[in-house]
Symmetry: C2
Subunit: 245 residues, 2 copies
């Protein structure tokens, strides 16, 4: 029987979602607990990887079980055994051929920037913009986002060189400004490693006057990461939602 | 020359404000940095103690210096050397006989309770109420707060037995409910060790039906901590403001 779970986690004290030997990861913690419950090794498949310190409000994973346990009791058992920086929000039975990664249709990431003074209570949850806002233009920031919307080869905007296919579609980039807090919302069919953080950093630099809109277009067309050398810090990034049909 | 500083800190990774040997404290971290800047041992006087995991948005401390440095540069120097969970918001020169503890007139503490589902991203910043809200009454909660407003001997509501005088005045207890988030705001001339957290826990239990308003009055009159056995967790508590004339 295949179980699909949704979960939220605070990425601060994790070396990302994906399991890595000797390091504390979200997948590692969840598999440890599932193995404890099942009394045999259980592996999970995650819908999306997240980097060290990146948060998730709605991550999904699936696994197969032979246990006879209700969905509600499985959720309770997992939450009572998991550390307090991971929380399972739902468990449900899905078809045996359901795949949480391949069957997701869209992903939504949010990036939070605080233009106000530094507040240590939010240091792990927002990017405190360290530069002067004197030359900063929100109009140019919005204009810059349009360069990335649509189907593009985002090779210049990823760290990893191992992708066979670096073409992705960004359906929308939306901005919400409340007082000093800017949330940039990305919806796309998928995002390459570091793609959101590199795009955010390059857009901010453009709004600051360091790059022009036409520079960004050339960088995108250039398909070379060295053209886009900046990256925004991980702790401002949230995996906000994964869409399924 | 006496310097008064205001600061904010995330209490999560501190064993409270007050210096203790071998433990990481806010005072300890600040004195370490001041000693480094002065090249001789410097001690500070804090306006208010906070417990392990309790946060501060506006804590004050003072110290004496022989350094010839501008207030703005002192702030910069401190912030560049302090860990990222403490932030100095202001430094200013005050009279040599100014005392940040004795001259404070009122203190304001906030306690944040989340009645919604658990969210791991806020686990260090809110008390997620673990009980059913079926019998919970906000009306009774507000009614219960009135028991504590005014000048009372709060001996039943403190952990420590060493106070000579356990009489304090609470000027106001205010409630702000936004969606699932309740902030209880206490303003008083001073608060005993654990006093806010014990009052919060006892008021919540009263709103839940475990105690009546007249029970609370008897507990207050009884002047014995064993009558008030509950305490709310530290991470929901914030030192919000210290008032000076």
């Amino acid at each position: 029987m295949r179980i699909l779970c949704s979960c939220a986690y605070d990425g601060t004290n994790f070396y990302g979602f994906q399991i890595q030997p000797e390091l504390r990861t979200v997948q590692g913690e969840i598999e440890k607990v599932l193995t404890q419950i099942h009394k045999y090794p259980v592996s999970i498949v995650g819908a999306s990887r997240t980097d060290a310190k990146v948060h998730a409000l709605n991550q999904y994973f699936h696994f197969d079980t032979t246990l006879n346990i209700s969905q509600e009791n499985l959720k309770k058992a997992l939450n009572s055994l998991l550390p307090d920086d991971i929380y399972i929000t739902e468990c449900k039975v899905v078809d045996d051929d359901f795949h949480c990664r391949y069957q997701s249709t869209m992903k939504e990431y949010h990036y939070i920037i605080d233009f106000g003074p530094y507040n240590p209570l939010y240091r792990n949850y927002r990017y405190f913009y360290p530069f002067s806002l004197e030359k900063f233009s929100f109009e140019i920031l919005k204009e810059a986002s349009k360069v990335f919307i649509g189907k593009h080869d985002f090779k210049s905007f990823t760290k990893t060189k191992t992708y066979k296919n670096t073409v992705r579609t960004i359906y929308n980039i939306d901005f919400e400004l409340q007082n000093n807090l800017l949330t940039i919302k990305f919806i796309g069919d998928g995002f390459l490693h570091h793609m959101v953080r590199i795009i955010v950093a390059m857009m901010l630099s453009c709004a600051q006057g360091k790059y022009s809109i036409s520079d960004l277009k050339q960088i995108l067309a250039g398909k070379n990461r060295q053209l886009a050398p900046e990256i925004a810090p991980p702790y401002g990034l949230y995996l906000y939602k994964i869409y399924y049909d």
